[in-house]
Structures are given as structure tokens and as C-alpha cells.
């Protein structure tokens, strides 16, 4: 019987190539999209799980509120790790990371530096903690001694072979000498250490051994014994405030108690989070690598499910519509003694065949699309061909899909009553049209929703890109590692400024685009120990040309000026800062503040100017209080404001000056605008993904509609013929045939507009600076849906309407 089912199914599919194609293709697109998204989500969820004992590793976080500023750190202070080991019997091991940023590596005795993007100091427990194997070197001594380091395979091979590298010495940043004691495999792409290539022994890092509970700079991981209850550790962890931190603060604020600290509105809360949660659930200051957001995973899962549902719905709709043509067959079979179960089985075999074909096509499509998808999602995903689980899941999914989407048409058809269908009743009387209409409405409701989503995401991105940032990001070239020039950095800047197309140049570690950040607690002159009046401000060390190069707008006072020698103790603040101070721009000029909160003999700084707020953190966040002051000997970068579109010429000229002044140092540069755009990469990615999958879902919905329209026109061939004989025009008939579908699309629009409006407002709430969902976006989404469906339907309608009636009436 089964063989017979397959044979008949195959023939009936072959007989209707157009319907079969629509069915297979629509389903394949849905499966392929879903497959890609699933691979992406799987990759995201797999972050950091490759480390041995990953489930027993946790990181300590701290939430600090002090001086009005509320901050959440992924780093804690240096002595906390040891306290963890002492206070918790369940803690087996701790490892601290202290980021070293990018470093220049040079084999001792040579001139050529090689830049490594990410380096970090680590405790010697690092290898054991994460179960990392050494490719070369001795695991017991590696990372023990000061000034030793591990390199990854890739980093080591830039200089030596893996085995030869061990024991070699390097100069780091032209200043320190380190010996390589081991080489490790490159860090996995989906781990928090993915960009790290240099691991330096913490033992040589002086600060790590000073017991200072006040500053947070160390990513601190701990591993617990298998039976440990980490939840139960949270309370004692919070107790660290009273036990360790308050005694530390008492050095500056004698006699302060935990109660007083809390009563002044401050807090300092230690918590821990599992290593494997970091990538998707942590969004804190000083993360080791940029993380993703679990919300985007939810959004993607949502899209994946809907793609699949859309494709199934499509399949159901087309099959049910198509089944009306097979009503006679059902009737005959029933009179020949077939029962319902047989018929259901027959049709399920048919849908199984279709979904199996779709599955094959989907895998093919997914393989074709994978490189583009990787590009879009910034991933390195490959098809897990060799994983049997992948195939099992895929096959099971195909089977479930076939059964699920085949079930409705099968039950629908098996219910046909022989007398009715054999009499050739009008297929409308066979029912199912309500369900079909419902499904079309459902498909278009989702499509309209996705159109709204795409438009809003796109507009928000556009808004961000065009928003007045308060500084000028265009045509600004950033040269990195300026500190390697030492005292030649000043002359370097002056040389660059002499280039005819250079408007201005400034040297600073701090840029409005992602760069160094640091903050201090300031006290006003007339309230030096008054906690309530203390304010927390970012402090940016800049030079005299900074305000001019960045094009900040001064709303009161003046910028730094070489003619005023005591500008070394002057500060320029932003609007957010004076808002926290509660002063107007005019009032604040001349006021004095100290960053040495609570210290003896504090250094007083005078406010000389106020700049308009500028966006130096992503639009998701509010603008923080900030002050700028002069001076930084080891500034990281130089920003050059250009007045030319010939960037290549400018880069060549600046590099020329650089290599004259710093022979052997790599010339590393980027454009501020690119860095700015990078900040919104995740939104842009979301935007592109939204766009692509919206297009796919609309395509699927249109395939369905196209098929339904074709079916509808065919079903009504006789009616159309009669109407034409009676004098109806092509236009009138086209309208008649299209109007039914447009009604459905209209209902879909009415359903999805309010939902889309609500959901997108919710999404926008994440941004401190955002657009509103405008009424015309909704109208536009509606129009797009109507136009697309009209185009889809009218092709079939017109085709049916222009047929010569003599022909259509003969088909009886």
C-alpha cells in the first residue's frame, strides 16, 4: 500500500508542476531561513561552552553607586580573588584578567614591531582554570615568573615556529622585556577570549598585589567544586562590602560605617554570573570582549519560528485549494471502498514527499546563502555535515513539518462527501474557504508586522547616523599608538598640522567614539567632604587643540589656551555635568572642584568653559557628566581633522611623517566615522537581518497568494466565461477576482498595525535617543502590503480575464 501511495503521490505532484513548485519552493525558503537562524543561535548559545568545566566557572560583577553615578562593572578590585579563595570552601580556583589592550611585539634586538590587538595579564591559574593545553612549553612553570608570557599559535608563528618560540624574549611596547614560556592554540572564535593573542604573567604586574579595595580593574573568575551551590554564595559575596570594602574607604573617610554609606544613597553590590551566560546576558562596563544581547536572540528565534509557520501555512493553503481539484478523486476512491484513514495516509505521503523535497532544496539554498549570511552576521558558521545529530534533527524536522502541514489538507480532503463531489458541485460548497482565508490573513498580518519592523529599525539607524552628535566625526583620521613616539609626539603633531589639507590635530587617549574612559568623584570647593554633593564625572585628558579639532560648541567661557599658564589646573565641563551640579553655564565658570575627594590637601581645578553635550557613548545611553583637562604624556592616539576627500594621499603623507619619526613602529590608523558606525553594528545587523527575513516572509506569502489566485481564477473559469459573454469587461473581471484577496489583506493590515506599533515602541524604549513611530510608517507598511498583493493577484486575475470565453466554456 505504501509503495502505491508513493507512486500515486509522485504522479499527482508531477501532474501539477506549478503547484508542486510553489509548494516546494515556499517551504524550502522557510526551512532554509530557519536553518540559518538556528545555526546562528546555536553558535551564540555555544559561547564559552568549549572550556572544560565551563559550567563550574563564574565571574564576579559589581554594581557601584557612588557620587550620584550608577555603574555596573564586569571587573572588580585586585584583592577580591584571594578573599574568594579564603572565604569560600567551595571555590577551587580563581583567575584574574587585567586587560593590556593592544601591544607592540618586537623580537629583542630587532627594529620591526608587530601589533597584537588584544593582550591581557593573567594569573598563573589561567591554563588550569579553562583547561587550555600548551602546544609547547611546560604547564607547571608557564606564567609563574614575572615578565613571562604565552602566545597563541598565530601570534607566535609571526616570529618563530611553535617549538622555537619558547624561551625567546620580546620587547613589549618598546619598553618591557618578556620571555615566552609557552604557546597555546588560538582562542576559539566563540569564546570571550576570541581576540586575545598575548597572555602575560600577572605576577609581574605590581598593581595586582596591592590591597586596594577601591578601584575595579580585574575580571575575576572562580571555579567551584562540582557540588557547590553558587546561589548560596551570593549573600556572603554581598557581605564583602562590610567586611573588606568599608574598612578600605575608612582610610579616606575616617569613621564611616556601612550604614552611613548606604544611607547616603550609595551602594556596592557583588554578584556572580556563570561564564556561559556572559556572552548573551552581560552588558557591563569593561567586558573582555563585546557581547551580544539575548534580546536579539529572542527576536531571531521569533523570526525563525514565523518563517517556518508562514511556510507551513502556505503549504496548507495551497494544498487545500489544490485539493478541491482532486475532490472527484476522493469521491471515486470512497465509492471504491477507501476509508478515511487510507485517504489521510495517501495525502500525508504526498505532503511528506513535498516536505522532503523542500528539505533537500532548503539545504542546498542554505549552503548557497551561508557565506552571505556569515558576512551579514559577522560569523564563521559552517554546516555541521559530520554531526549525525544535525542530520537527525533535520530529518525529524522534515517529517514533523510534512505531517504538520499535511494534516489539515488531508483531513479536509478525507471529509469530502462522494455524492457532492461526484455531482461536480461548485467547489465553494466543499468548505474550507474560511480556514484558507484565515491563513492568508495570518500570513499577511505577519508580513505587515515585519514591514513595520524593518521601516522602524531602518529609521532609527538613519536617525542615529544623521543626528547632531555635538562633534564632527567626518573626515577625522585617527592615528594609534602615538605614545610610542615618546617626546616626539608633539613635533609629530606639528608636522602633520603643516600639511595643507589638515585643519587641526589633537593628541589624546580619549575620543568621542569608543576609546579609553575613566571617571573620578569630584567635590566642590565649599563641600570637600560632603558626600551628598560629590559628583562623579568622566575625566578626559586632552591637549590644547582638542576642542577645536572635535568641533565642540562652547556655550560659556573659553577653551584651553596656551597663553594661560595655569590652564593646567583648568577644566572644561559638559552640559550634563552642570546639570548634576545644579548650576547654569554662566554660574559654573570660575567654580572650583577637586578630583581628590576625601584626600588631604586636594588639588583644586577651576571650570573655564562649558561645551554643549556631545554623544560619546551609544544612543542607547544617556550622556554622562564629563570634564576635560590638559595633559597626558602617554596619550594613545592622534585625531587629525582633514579637509580633503583624497584620503589615500592624506594617509600616505601622515604615514610618511610617522615612519620618519618612529622607524620600525607599525603605522596603525582608522577613520572616526568607521569606528562610530561600528558602535551601531549590532543595530545595523538587526536591521539587515530584519530586512532579509521580511523579504523572505513576504516572498513566501506572495507565493501562497499567487497560488491561491491561480487556483481561484481556474475554479472560476466558467463563471468568467459566462460573465464575458454577458458583456463584462476585462477590467471589471480583474477587479472582481482581485477584490476578494484585497479584502483579506485589508483585514491583515488592521490586525497588525496596532501590534506593530506597540512592539516597535517597546524596542525603541531601549534607546535614550530615539525616533517615534510615525503614523505614516504604518500607512506605508499598509500600502506596501496592498501593492505587493495586488501585483501578485492581478497577474493571475488578468490572465484569467483575457481568456477567450469560447475556450473557457468548452472546458466543461
Amino acid at each position: 500500500m505504501f509503495k502505491n501511495h508513493i507512486k500515486i503521490a509522485w504522479r499527482s505532484l508531477k501532474k501539477q508542476p506549478f503547484f508542486t513548485f510553489l509548494n516546494v519552493f515556499g517551504l524550502a525558503i522557510g526551512i532554509a531561513g530557519c536553518l540559518l537562524i538556528t545555526l546562528y543561535i546555536h553558535d551564540e548559545l555555544s559561547f564559552d561552552t568549549m572550556f572544560a568545566d565551563a559550567d563550574r566557572i563564574h565571574r564576579v560583577n559589581v554594581d557601584v553607586k557612588f557620587g550620584g553615578e550608577d555603574r555596573r562593572f564586569a571587573v572588580v578590585n585586585a584583592p577580591l580573588a584571594e578573599a574568594l579563595e579564603n572565604d569560600f570552601s567551595e571555590v577551587e580556583l580563581t583567575t584574574r584578567f587585567r586587560t593590556g589592550g593592544s601591544v607592540l611585539l618586537k623580537t629583542t634586538g630587532t627594529e620591526i614591531n608587530v601589533k597584537e590587538q588584544q593582550s591581557t595579564f593573567v594569573d598563573s591559574t589561567f591554563l588550569k582554570m579553562f583547561g587550555i593545553r600548551l602546544l609547547a612549553g611546560d604547564i607547571n612553570s608557564a606564567l609563574k615568573e614575572p615578565n613571562t608570557m604565552l602566545l597563541t599559535k598565530t601570534a607566535a608563528e609571526k616570529h618563530y615556529g611553535i617549538q622555537e618560540a619558547v624561551g625567546k624574549t620580546f620587547e613589549l611596547n618598546n619598553t618591557q622585556t618578556f620571555t615566552v614560556t609557552g604557546v597555546v592554540e588560538d582562542m576559539p572564535k566563540n569564546s570571550f577570549l576570541r581576540d586575545h593573542t598575548v597572555f602575560m604573567a600577572m605576577s609581574g604586574f605590581e598593581d595586582s598585589r596591592i590591597v586596594n579595595w577601591g578601584s575595579n580593574n580585574y575580571q575575576t573568575f572562580f571555579k567551584v567544586i562540582p557540588s557547590a551551590n553558587v546561589d548560596a554564595m551570593q549573600e556572603p559575596l554581598k557581605g564583602f562590602l562590610g567586611k573588606y570594602v568599608i574598612p578600605g574607604i575608612q582610610q579616606y573617610m575616617p569613621g564611616i560605617t556601612e550604614e552611613q554609606f548606604i544611607a547616603s544613597g550609595n551602594h556596592l553590590i557583588y554578584t556572580s554570573m556563570p561564564l556561559t551566560d556572559i556572552h548573551l546576558k552581560s552588558d557591563r562596563a569593561a567586558e573582555i570582549s563585546p557581547n551580544n544581547n539575548i534580546q536579539s536572540i529572542y527576536i531571531l528565534s521569533f523570526i525563525a519560528v514565523f518563517l517556518l509557520v508562514l511556510a507551513c501555512v502556505n503549504f496548507m493553503n495551497l494544498s487545500t485549494a489544490h485539493s478541491l481539484k482532486r475532490a472527484k478523486e476522493v469521491g471515486v476512491r470512497k465509492t471504491l471502498g477507501s476509508n478515511k484513514i487510507d485517504l489521510i495516509r495517501q495525502f500525508l505521503v504526498e505532503s511528506g514527499l513535498v516536505s522532503f523535497g523542500a528539505l533537500l532544496l532548503a539545504i542546498f539554498l542554505a549552503i548557497l546563502a551561508l557565506p552571505f549570511f556569515n558576512d551579514l552576521a559577522d560569523k564563521d558558521i559552517s554546516m555541521p555535515y559530520s554531526n549525525p545529530l544535525f542530520w537527525i534533527i533535520l530529518l525529524a524536522a522534515g517529517l514533523v513539518l510534512g505531517l504538520f502541514s499535511g494534516s489539515y489538507p488531508a483531513f479536509f480532503m478525507s471529509k469530502f462527501i462522494p455524492v457532492k463531489v461526484l455531482k461536480g458541485s461548485n467547489s465553494n460548497s466543499l468548505g474550507g474557504s474560511k480556514v484558507r482565508n484565515g491563513l492568508v490573513i495570518f500570513q499577511f498580518a505577519i508580513s505587515v508586522f515585519l514591514i513595520i519592523g524593518t521601516l522602524v529599525v531602518y529609521q532609527q539607524l538613519k536617525y542615529i547616523q544623521n543626528k547632531d552628535l555635538g562633534f564632527s566625526k567626518d573626515q577625522v583620521l585617527i592615528v594609534n599608538d602615538v605614545y610610542t613616539l615618546g617626546d616626539k609626539s608633539g613635533p609629530f603633531k606639528e608636522e602633520v598640522k603643516k600639511l595643507s589639507y589638515v585643519e587641526n590635530a589633537t593628541i589624546s587617549s580619549f575620543l568621542p567614539t569608543p576609546s579609553a574612559r575613566g571617571d573620578s568623584t569630584f567635590a566642590p570647593e565649599d563641600g570637600l567632604t560632603d558626600q551628598e554633593r560629590a559628583i562623579s564625572m568622566q575625566v578626559w585628558r586632552v591637549d590644547h587643540d582638542y576642542v577645536g579639532t572635535m568641533d565642540f560648541e562652547l556655550i560659556a567661557g573659553r577653551g584651553f589656551d596656551r597663553r594661560f599658564l595655569n590652564d593646567s589646573t583648568s577644566i572644561i565641563v559638559n552640559e550634563s555635568a552642570i546639570a548634576t551640579m545644579g548650576l547654569s553655564p554662566e554660574e559654573v565658570i570660575g567654580k572650583r572642584y577637586t578630583p581628590d575627594f576625601g584626600e588631604e590637601d586636594p588639588e583644586m581645578l577651576t571650570v573655564i568653559g562649558v561645551v554643549k553635550d556631545f554623544h560619546f557613548s551609544p544612543f542607547r545611553n544617556d550622556i554622562e557628566a564629563l570634564c576635560m583637562r590638559l595633559g597626558d604624556l602617554y596619550a594613545e592616539s592622534m585625531a587629525v581633522k582633514l579637509h580633503t576627500s583624497e584620503f589615500q594621499v592624506a594617509i600616505a603623507d601622515v604615514e610618511n611623517i610617522w615612519s620618519q619619526m618612529a622607524p620600525g613602529q607599525p603605522f596603525d590608523y582608522y577613520f572616526m566615522e568607521d569606528s562610530f558606525n561600528d558602535t551601531y553594528r549590532s543595530e545595523q545587523r538587526l536591521g539587515s537581518i530584519f530586512f532579509i527575513f521580511t523579504t523572505l516572509s513576504i516572498l513566501i506569502a506572495c507565493l501562497g497568494l499567487f497560488g491561491l489566485a491561480a487556483f481561484n481564477a481556474e475554479k472560476r473559469t466558467k463563471e468568467i466565461g459566462v460573465r464575458k459573454v454577458l458583456g463584462a469587461t476585462v477590467g471589471q473581471i480583474t477587479f472582481r477576482l482581485s477584490a476578494d484577496f484585497l479584502k483579506l489583506v485589508g483585514i491583515a493590515i488592521l490586525i497588525s498595525l496596532p501590534i506593530g506599533w506597540y512592539a516597535m515602541n517597546k524596542w525603541l524604549e531601549d534607546f535614550s535617543y530615539r525616533i517615534e513611530v510615525k503614523w505614516w510608517v504604518l500607512v506605508l507598511a499598509a500600502i506596501v502590503a496592498v501593492v505587493i498583493s495586488l501585483l501578485t493577484v492581478s497577474y493571475q486575475s488578468i490572465k484569467a480575464a483575457i481568456v477567450n470565453p469560447v475556450k473557457s466554456l468548452r472546458t466543461e
Binding site: 504522479r11 501532474k15 476509508n339
Partner: protein, 220 residues
């Protein structure tokens, strides 16, 4: 007694009015009979035949098929009766377009869950008997109307039904083809098959041993 209908009424409600399709039908059919049903178009012949064939229900009266009350049968049971006892022949032939002649014949046997070899033998017998061996691999669209109806009858007979129901089996055929079919019916009847046919033509009706006339759903 093969079947017995007593006081059968069938109606539809239209616009609050009850329109009778069958009125007070009484009929006893013994095995081996050959009955022709006649009447003008719209008199309810097809409806009557469908009720007998259990393709359609009725609203009042009782119907026993082989001493079982049809009224209480579930669909599954009815399918069993089709399989075992009843063969249908339609005016429009209603062959399955996707299947070859051979496969069309095989279809009822599949539903009877017969073994492959057994099915093959029976299909071969039928092809032989109806002289259509040469056509066994053709699809219905490749046959003439008369040939299609021949296949239709062969398909109805292959599971050796006790009762053959034919609704205007010759309606779409020319007179020579029609005559051949009638001769075939006569022969089948002589072999013991009970036949009830609907027909317009006096000549064809005369092949039956008993003629029932219908007018407005009533036997006259």
C-alpha cells in the same frame, strides 16, 4: 433478500420550505434481479440510486441491506460494504486520471488489502475478460468514451460485488457503444450479478427484468 427500502422520504429545506426529493419509496430487491429505473430529468433517479448505494442518506423510512439496518452504519462500516458488495458505474466514468487502466482496476483490490500476486492475477483476468489487455498501460485520457466505460465497469466488477449500481452508464456513449455495454450487463446478470441501472432510453431499459418509473420523487 438483498435489500429492502420501506417508506423512504428524502427532502431538502430551501427558503423555509421542504422540497421532497424522494417520497414514500418502497422497494424490495432479491439477488439476481436486473432493475431499470426510468423517469424524466430531475425526477430523482440519481438520488434514488445514491440512497441505494449508501452514497446519500435519507430522512425518513428504513433501509436494510443484507438484513442490516443502513441507518445505523458508521462511515467505516459503509466503506466495508462498498468494498464487499457494491460496485458503482458512473455516467462520467470517473476513472482516476493519474492511474493507468491496470492501476485503476487494481485500486479496489488495494482497499481490500489483497496480496500483490493475487491482485495481479485478478487484474489480468479482468483485462482478459473485457478484452482490454492491450490497453492496460494507457491512461484514461488516451481511451475513447466507450473504452473508458468498459474500464469503469471492469473496475466495478473486479471485487465481485453482489450489486452493480449504474447511473446512466451509456449516457455519454453513442448507440453502438451503448448496446455493447447493455449486452455486457445482460451477460453479467445471467452470471448472477444483481444490477440496478438508471437510464433514459426505453431500449436500454428493456434489458432489465423489472422497470421502475419515477416522477417527482415518487414511484408510479
Amino acid at each position: 433478500m438483498l435489500l429492502q427500502l420501506q417508506n423512504i422520504f428524502k427532502w431538502v429545506n430551501s427558503g423555509g420550505q421542504r422540497i421532497f426529493l424522494l417520497k414514500d419509496i418502497n422497494l424490495k430487491v432479491k439477488e439476481g434481479e436486473f432493475i431499470s429505473i426510468m423517469g424524466p430529468s430531475g425526477s430523482g433517479k440519481s438520488t434514488f440510486l445514491n440512497v441505494i448505494g449508501m452514497l446519500d442518506g435519507f430522512d425518513e423510512g428504513s433501509y436494510d441491506f443484507l438484513d442490516e439496518s443502513v441507518h445505523q452504519l458508521k462511515e467505516k462500516h459503509r466503506a466495508k460494504l462498498y468494498k464487499e458488495y457494491i460496485g458503482f458505474v458512473f455516467q462520467q466514468y470517473h476513472l482516476l486520471d493519474d492511474l493507468t487502466v491496470q492501476e485503476n482496476l487494481e485500486m479496489p483490490l488495494l482497499y481490500k488489502k489483497l496480496k500483490g500476486a493475487e491482485r495481479k492475477a485478478m487484474v489480468a483476468d479482468m483485462l482478459d475478460r473485457f478484452n482490454i489487455v492491450g490497453k492496460k498501460d494507457l491512461f484514461p485520457a488516451q481511451l475513447s468514451g466507450g473504452q473508458q466505460q468498459l474500464v469503469g465497469i471492469a473496475r466495478a466488477l473486479i471485487s465481485s460485488p453482489k450489486l452493480l449500481l449504474a447511473d446512466e452508464p451509456t449516457g455519454n456513449l453513442n448507440s453502438k457503444q451503448g448496446e455493447e455495454i447493455m449486452e455486457l450487463f445482460k451477460q453479467l446478470n445471467e452470471e448472477g450479478v444483481t444490477i440496478i441501472q438508471v437510464t433514459h432510453s426505453e431500449k436500454n431499459a428493456a434489458y432489465g427484468k423489472r422497470i421502475i418509473n419515477l416522477l417527482d420523487g415518487r414511484m408510479i
